[in-house]
């Protein structure tokens, strides 16, 4: 079990405990978000990350603060793991002025320039193209950053996947393409959508290294990502990583998931819960106790409750902000203007 030894050896007890806390936090955050959604405080779509915590925590723990991530619409967990305050994420979910995108983005459009989170992207596949461009900027400017694109199993069937992988490989860009394969693109099972059983031949088609990892094993994900990120940072080009995971809830909160069996769901939730698996592992290694687990849950609940309270008490966006930030150039935001001033249609 070389991977286990390296991974555990690579992290201190404090780091392992922090990793457990972060996974607990993003699960409790999503459970709270589901509650806020059911109360009608969150509108639109709400895509929860519950079940995929090990994947995100492993991926992002392998990155430096200056590394970019470009994510999908299932990005609340990624945002928090990248360092965003749960408060500003929750406030964005509630469409408040204090949200990271000032209430104009919502669940699918978290962004933080400070934390190099280049968006939750709600056009599937765009995050690969954008990450490729970021990779080019990194290479052009001689920076030591890496751009990581996070996408689901549906994105690999988009044209952008192929155009992005080809160019990134051709130009040896410092990009890591990570497919968080949660087995379903909305209601479409991977087995029905892919002409091949894994992404390996797709990576091979672009001459790119491929790594497949159990996305329910946070240390394995981290280990795989450390190698892919180092490869990119050293100028060796992109890697395609497939992290196999499972979302415990529907595609969004509007989805009852009739396309999969309750038995299948139960199997993943009981035998493969990533947080439970990690706890078992940490107990075996003598890193964590039930008492510490309880403390983490309690702390996470406090943070999440505080985030919800902050969001609920935050002001709605100023009506005047409707016209703000369309463009950098405020004169260019509106299609036309007259001497009477810029009309607002």
């Amino acid at each position: 079990m070389a991977i286990r030894d390296i991974a555990l050896a690579g992290l201190t007890r404090e780091q392992l405990l922090e990793m457990h806390y972060q996974m607990t936090l993003i699960r409790r955050f999503e459970e709270k978000a589901a509650e806020e959604y059911s109360l009608g405080r969150i509108g639109g779509f709400l895509h929860l990350y519950i079940g995929q915590e090990a994947s995100g925590a492993g991926i992002i723990s392998a990155l430096r603060p200056e590394d970019y991530i470009v994510s999908s619409y299932r990005e609340h967990g990624h945002a928090i793991l990248k360092g965003m305050e749960p408060r500003v994420v929750m406030a964005e979910l509630l469409g408040k002025a204090t949200g990271c995108s000032k209430g104009k983005g919502g669940s699918m459009h978290m962004y933080s320039a400070e934390h190099n989170l280049i968006g939750g992207q709600a056009i599937v596949g765009a995050q690969l193209a954008i990450a490729t461009g970021l990779g080019f900027a990194i290479q052009y400017q001689g920076e030591e950053r890496v751009a990581v694109s996070l996408f689901g199993d549906g994105a690999v069937d988009e044209g952008a996947f192929h155009e992005s992988l080809n160019l990134a490989a051709l130009w040896k860009l410092p990009v890591v393409f990570v497919c968080e394969n949660n087995q379903y693109s909305m209601g479409m099972a991977v087995t029905k959508a892919w002409s091949v059983a894994s992404l390996e031949p797709r990576a091979a088609a672009y001459g790119m290294p491929y790594a497949r990892v159990d996305g329910m094993d946070v240390l394995a994900v981290r280990d795989t990502m450390l190698a892919a990120v180092a490869h990119a940072r050293e100028g060796e080009g992109p890697t395609l990583v497939e992290s196999n995971t499972y979302r415990f809830r529907g595609h969004s909160q509007a989805d009852p998931a009739y396309y999969r069996t309750r038995e299948e769901e139960a199997l993943w939730r009981t035998a493969k819960d990533p947080i439970t698996l990690f706890e078992t592992r940490l107990k075996v290694e003598g890193v964590i106790t039930d008492e510490v687990i309880g403390e983490h849950v309690q702390k996470a609940d406090e943070v999440v409750e505080d985030a919800a309270k902050f969001a609920e008490e935050s002001p709605d966006p100023d009506p005047e902000s409707l016209y703000e930030d369309v463009m950098v150039d405020p004169r260019g935001a509106i299609a036309w203007r007259t001497k009477q001033g810029s009309p607002r249609d």
């Binding site: 104009k104 459009h109 765009a126 461009g133 990779g135 900027a137 155009e163 160019l167 369309v326």
Partner: protein, 335 residues
């Protein structure tokens, strides 16, 4: 002043901005060794090298994705799409990413990106290579869209677009590349704003609102109309979004008659949008319905005779003007 082609003017703009700003680079299909499909980027690879002149695969989506991502990462890309027709393959990223990011991410990102693309018909390139989609993009808040008609404006507006912090779509008519015009000497620095039209010819009887290659056709038509005593004012919009509506309304208030001339299709397009703005803001000044000269409502045919019939002509402009100027103006001209 020198006289150079529209193509050379564009190249000068790119070269000057690349010399003065290391962050500026160009990417597109066959822009390096080949020098660009229309030879706009010829010689730039030799001067700036592989790092800053990037030949890409035939993959419009990732050309624009690379441009957007690299702009977010601190660069100032100039992407060339081989023609506007192929922009549809990248239109998702133009519409859903370039135009939206700043707003939907609460004003955090900026995307200083220029996308250059030739467009238009008249060279027998057939239905899939002769189109104007500017109205589709001009519909989208978050984008700027310009269509200069002269070498002077091409250079000045491209320099302004490269320096602009927002995404700018820069649309060049294929038949303008070899058109010559006066441009200041190379050591004379100038830019042309991205939000101002220009009066190309003053007149009292009718306003011709136009852009891109139709500017030249309208100027010819105005000369011909003058022989019949009709003094047409020719407005080159230069920018479609934002549009310099003051320029249009001031002229309409003076002439009380207007003909919009464009090469694209009539229905739901740029001209109808402008006509609606004129009716909305200058209805009381109009002495006749707004005239409209456009391409015919068909896919572009290949045969030379059919293509000619499908494109708006100088005679169409004259006929549209004569249909709305009063008989007394024409009669006075005849005397």
């Amino acid at each position: 002043m020198r006289t150079i082609t529209y193509r050379d003017a564009l190249r000068e703009a790119i070269r000057e901005e690349m010399r003065s700003d290391e962050r500026v680079y160009i990417l597109g299909e066959d822009i390096a060794g080949y020098g660009g499909t229309y030879a706009v980027t010829k010689g730039l690879f030799e001067e700036f090298g592989e790092k800053r002149v990037k030949d890409t695969p035939l993959a419009e989506e990732i050309i624009i994705g690379t441009a957007i991502g690299s702009a977010l990462g601190g660069l100032r890309p100039i992407a060339e799409l081989m023609t506007m027709n192929f922009s549809l393959l990248a239109s998702d990223l133009l519409v859903n990413s370039a135009a939206k990011f700043r707003y939907m991410f609460g004003g955090q990102p900026r995307i200083p990106m220029v996308v250059r693309m030739p467009a238009g018909g008249g060279a027998q390139r057939g239905a899939q290579h002769s189109q104007f989609f500017e109205s589709w993009y001009a519909h989208i808040p978050g984008l700027k869209l310009v269509m200069p008609a002269t070498p002077y404006d091409a250079k000045g507006m491209l320099k302004a677009a490269i320096r602009d912090d927002d995404p700018v779509l820069f649309i060049e008519h294929e038949l303008l590349y070899s058109v010559k015009g006066e441009v200041p000497d190379e050591d004379v620095e100038y830019t042309v704003p991205l939000d101002r039209g220009e009066i190309k010819r003053e007149g009292r009887d009718v306003t011709l609102v136009t852009f891109s290659r139709m500017v030249h056709i309208c100027q010819q038509a105005a000369e011909e109309l003058a022989k019949d005593g009709v003094e047409a004012e020719v407005l080159d919009l230069r920018s479609i979004r934002p549009i310099d509506l003051d320029l249009v309304l001031d002229s309409v208030r003076k002439t009380n008659r207007v003909v919009i001339a464009e090469e694209g299709w009539k229905y739901y397009g740029t001209g109808q949008g402008i006509a609606a703005l004129i009716y909305e803001h200058a209805f009381d000044y109009l002495d006749a319905p707004v005239g409209h000269v456009t391409g015919k409502d068909v896919p572009m045919p290949y045969a030379k005779s059919l293509e000619k019939a499908a494109l708006p002509s100088y005679a169409d402009v004259i006929a549209a003007v004569k249909a709305i100027v009063p008989a007394r103006t024409l009669a006075a001209g005849a005397r």
